[in-house]
C-alpha cells in the first residue's frame, strides 16, 4: 500500500503533504498541537479536510477542494485502523470481544475472530485480561488492549497515535519489539513523542510543526542531521539556525558558530544550521582562550541528572557535564556561563 497524503484543515492551521511507501513505517513527529492527530483523522476518514487528497495505492479515499472531483470513502471501507490517543475501548464488551470486534466486522467467523483476538491479546501480554470489562482495567492495561484491537483489525494502513503512552518500563520495550516485528511489512503511520520509538519503529520520519511539514527523511538522516529545531530537540542535539558563512552559521543576533561544512557545503548567505552533541559542549564560567573556536554566552535554565552526568540546559542549548564540574562551577539555574564547543564537533549544513 502506498499512501499519498495532502491535507489542508484551515480551522486548525494544518497544511501538510507526505507519502508513505508500501510496507513502510512513517513516524509523525512534532510538538503538541502541531497537527499530527488531525492528519491521522483525515487519513482514517474521520475528518473531511477543507482541501486535499488521500490516495491509497490507486484508490482515492478522500478528495476535496480544487483538486479533481470530490470523492469520499467511508471510514469502514478504507481499512485504515486508527488507534486514537484515547484507548476508547467499547465499555459494553469484554476485552476479548473488543479485540475480536475488528475481525468480526470484516467478515471473520466467530471462532476465527476469537482465535485472532486471543493471539493478539497474548502478544501484548494481556491474555489474562480477556474476560474483564474495560472499566476494570488500569490505564496501561487499557492502552495495551487498544493496541491489540487495532492490530487485530489487520488493516491495509495502520494509524497509531502514541501507542506507547501510559506503558510501564517493563512492558514498553516488549511492546516496542512486538510493534517492530509487526510493522516491518505493514504500511503504518505512527505518532510518537519518544525518540526510541522513532528510531526503532520508523523507516522515515515526517516532522510537523505549526501545521507544516518542516522536515522529512529517513529516520537515521533526520535524527543525525536535523534541520529543524524540533527534530534537533527530539534527537537530543543542539541546533543553531542562521545564515551560512564560509565555515559556519551566523545567528540572527550576530553570534557566529563555526564548524565543519557538510558535503555539499551550504551556499554562503543561505539558510543553514549548525548541529552539535551536548556531550561535546564544555561549560566555562568565563569565555576561555585557546583552540575551541565557539564560545556561546548563555544563562542556565535547568539542570537534569543524566546517568552519571548532568545535563545543563540553557534555553534551546544543552551541555552534558560531570557532577564534579557542576559543583566546581557552582552551576544553578540563572547562572551566566559560556558554552564552549570545538569547531570540529560542529556539523554545518544547509537547511
Amino acid at each position: 500500500m502506498t499512501a499519498r497524503v495532502e491535507v489542508v484543515v484551515a480551522e486548525r492551521g494544518v497544511d501538510v503533504a507526505f507519502e508513505v511507501a508500501e510496507g513502510e513505517t512513517v513516524a509523525l513527529l512534532g510538538p503538541n498541537g502541531a497537527g499530527k492527530s488531525t492528519t491521522l483523522a483525515v487519513l482514517g476518514g474521520l475528518l473531511r479536510p477543507d482541501a486535499g487528497r488521500v490516495v491509497l495505492d490507486d484508490t482515492v479515499l478522500t478528495s476535496c477542494g480544487p483538486t479533481g472531483p470530490p470523492r469520499w470513502v467511508a471510514p469502514h471501507a478504507r481499512r485504515t485502523a486508527l488507534l486514537a490517543q484515547d484507548p476508547l475501548l467499547f465499555p459494553h464488551l469484554s476485552v476479548l470481544e473488543n479485540v475480536a470486534f475488528g475481525p468480526r466486522s470484516t467478515g471473520s467467523g466467530r471462532r476465527e475472530a476469537r482465535a485472532a483476538a486471543e493471539h493478539w491479546l497474548a502478544e501484548v501480554d494481556a491474555g489474562e485480561l480477556a474476560d474483564r470489562r474495560p472499566a476494570q482495567l488500569s490505564g496501561g492495561q487499557a492502552q495495551r488492549v487498544a493496541v491489540a484491537r487495532a492490530l487485530a483489525a489487520e488493516p491495509r494502513l495502520l494509524l497509531l497515535d502514541e501507542p506507547m503512552a501510559a506503558l510501564d518500563v517493563a512492558v514498553a520495550p516488549a511492546l516496542r519489539t512486538l510493534l517492530r516485528r509487526v510493522l516491518a511489512d505493514r504500511t503504518t503511520v505512527i505518532v510518537t513523542h519518544h525518540v526510541l520509538d522513532a528510531l526503532l519503529l520508523a523507516d522515515r520520519v515526517v516532522v510537523i510543526d505549526g501545521g507544516r511539514v518542516v522536515e522529512q527523511g529517513t529516520t537515521g538522516d533526520v535524527l543525525a542531521r536535523p534541520r529543524s529545531a524540533f527534530a534537533a530537540r527530539f534527537a537530543g542535539l543542539n541546533l543553531v539556525a542562521g545564515d551560512a558563512t564560509h565555515d559556519g552559521v551566523r545567528r540572527p543576533d550576530g553570534v557566529t558558530v563555526h564548524g565543519t561544512p557538510g558535503d555539499p557545503p551550504p551556499v554562503e548567505g543561505a539558510a543553514a544550521v549548525a548541529v552539535f552533541r551536548p556531550s561535546a559542549v564544555a561549560v566555562h564560567r568565563e569565555p576561555p582562550g585557546g583552540s575551541p573556536r565557539n564560545a556561546l554566552p548563555v544563562v542556565v535554565t535547568e539542570l537534569e541528572p543524566l546517568g552519571d552526568l548532568v545535563r545543563v540546559r540553557a534555553g534551546d542549548l544543552a551541555a552534558d557535564v560531570t557532577v564534579a564540574s557542576v559543583a566546581e562551577l557552582g552551576l544553578v539555574p540563572g547562572a551566566a556561563v559560556t558554552f564552549v564547543v570545538k569547531a570540529t564537533e560542529v556539523d554545518v549544513y544547509s537547511r
Partner: protein
C-alpha cells in the same frame, strides 16, 4: 466490597424529590383507599375485565414493537444527520404529543378511515381498518411513537459518536456499528423510551375511542372499559384502574433491563 463512591447529592435535593414522589403516589394511594375491597375480586375477574385486559396487553405489546421498529430508525436519523429539513421533521414528530388524543383519532380517521386519504384505496383492496384491533394498535402507535423517538434521540445525542467512529475505523459497516455499538451503548435510553411507549399505549383512550370505537373483545381496551364503568359504577372503574396500574408496573418491572429505567 470496595465501592466506587458516588459524588454525594446535595442534601436539600431530597426534599423536593420526596415531594415529587409523594405528589405522584399519594393520589393513587388515596384513590385505592376508597375501593370497596370486598367487591374487588368480583369486579376485576368479570369476563369484560378479562377480555379488556388481554386486549390491552396484546395491542400495547404490538404497538410498542411497531414503535421500536420504526422509532429506532427515526431517532437514529434525527440524532445523526445534520440536514436542515430534519429540524422541521423533529418538531413534527412531536405532533401526537400535543394533539389532544381525540383529535389524533380524528386525524387518523381522516387518513385511514373509509373515506380517508389512504383508507379509500385500502377499501378498494378490501382492507378495512376502522373498528378492528388493528385500528387500536395504530392509534396506540400514533400517540406512543414520539415518546420512543424523543427519549432515544436524547440518549443518542448524550452518548455521542466517539465509539461509533472507533468501530467504523475497525472496519465495521454502518449496520454493524448500529447493532453492536450504538444501540447497546444507549440501552438505558432505549429501555426508558420503550417503557414510556408501552405505558402510553396501555393508558391510551381518546384516539382509540375516536378511531377504533369500543366493542368488547375487539377494540375495548382497559381504559375504554374503565371509562364505560365510570358512568354507572365509579367504584368498579377505580378498581379496574388499579388493576391497570398493577399490570403496568409488573410488565415494566419484568421487562426492563437491569440498570435501565
Amino acid at each position: 466490597m470496595a465501592r466506587t463512591r458516588h459524588v454525594g447529592l446535595p442534601r436539600w435535593l431530597f426534599a423536593p424529590a420526596l415531594l415529587a414522589g409523594v405528589f405522584v403516589v399519594l393520589p393513587v394511594a388515596s384513590m385505592a383507599t376508597r375501593i370497596a375491597w370486598g367487591e374487588f375480586p368480583t369486579l376485576v375477574t368479570s369476563e369484560a375485565a378479562g377480555s379488556a385486559l388481554v386486549l390491552s396487553l396484546k395491542t400495547s405489546t404490538a404497538s410498542t414493537l411497531l414503535c421500536l421498529l420504526f422509532g429506532i430508525p427515526l431517532a437514529a436519523v434525527l440524532a445523526r444527520s445534520e440536514a436542515r429539513w430534519l429540524g422541521v421533521l423533529r418538531s413534527l414528530v412531536l405532533l401526537p404529543l400535543v394533539l389532544p388524543p381525540v383529535v389524533g383519532g380524528i386525524a387518523l380517521l381522516s387518513t385511514f378511515g373509509r373515506q380517508g386519504l389512504l383508507g379509500e384505496h385500502l377499501e378498494t383492496l378490501g382492507i378495512r381498518i376502522a373498528f378492528s384491533s388493528i385500528a387500536v394498535v395504530l392509534a396506540q402507535t400514533f400517540v406512543s411513537l414520539p415518546f420512543l423517538v424523543v427519549s432515544l434521540e436524547g440518549a443518542l445525542r448524550t452518548a455521542g459518536e466517539r465509539y461509533d467512529v472507533v468501530a467504523a475505523s475497525l472496519g465495521a459497516r454502518p449496520t454493524t456499528v448500529l447493532r453492536r455499538v450504538t444501540l447497546p451503548l444507549v440501552l438505558p435510553g432505549l429501555a426508558s423510551g420503550a417503557v414510556l411507549a408501552f405505558a402510553r399505549s396501555l393508558g391510551e383512550f381518546g384516539a382509540t375511542i375516536t378511531f377504533a370505537g369500543s366493542l368488547e373483545g375487539t377494540t375495548r381496551t382497559l381504559p375504554l372499559l374503565i371509562y364505560n364503568l365510570r358512568v354507572t359504577d365509579a367504584d368498579a372503574a377505580v378498581a379496574m384502574s388499579l388493576v391497570l396500574v398493577v399490570v403496568a408496573v409488573l410488565v415494566i418491572g419484568l421487562v426492563r433491563p437491569r440498570g435501565a429505567l
